[in-house]
Amino acid sequence: MNVISIIITVLGVTASLALYRVIFGPTPWDRLIAVNLISSKVVIIMVATAALFKQSIYMDVALVYAIIGFVSIIAISKFLEGKENKK
């Protein structure tokens, strides 16, 4: 069994474990933390897939996914911050 397929298996299992916190999280910030974690794991899965198949196109997909995940996390946390600091 290849090392890269072990990486993909372990990351998939732990991402589905972190999905528990997305579903049952008490506050919105818990869900945001778990979504951030799953997003970085998906980036690693894409890089490992690119290294497994020797295809360089998955690497560009991983980079764009990382950029979109970062911007969405910043935007949602600014939205949850509310209007209290605009006095």
Binding site: V3, L11, R21, V47, A48, D60
Partner: protein, 101 residues
């Protein structure tokens, strides 16, 4: 070869215990701490292991670009979440005995 296996195993251990902390810890801030360790240490260790395994090629250069980007942006996202929770007045978790006093 041994070095790449070592880095990949280290990253998998970091990511497994980070996810365990996400599920088991009682508060936002403690969960944020273990999530940050899981992101930074585990991700960077697995990507370094993949770079060592691939050798010097265009693929490993792109892996290096993704590594630098993740290393710059993960602490910023963690800090943004913590700042938003602190501004909305989420109190840190205490033990019950300290709360009674």
């Amino acid at each position: 070869m041994i070095l790449s296996y070592f880095f990949i195993f280290l990253g998998l251990v970091f990511i497994f215990f980070g996810t365990l902390g996400i599920i088991r810890f009682p508060d936002i801030y403690t969960r944020l701490q273990t999530s940050s360790k899981c992101d930074a240490a585990g991700t960077v260790a697995i990507l370094i292991g993949l770079i060592v395994k691939e050798g010097l090629s265009s693929l490993s250069l792109k892996i290096l670009i993704i590594l630098i980007f993740l290393l710059l942006t993960n602490p910023v996202a963690t800090h943004a979440i913590a700042r938003s929770a602190a501004i909305r007045g989420i109190k840190p978790w205490r033990k019950k005995r300290e709360r009674m006093e």
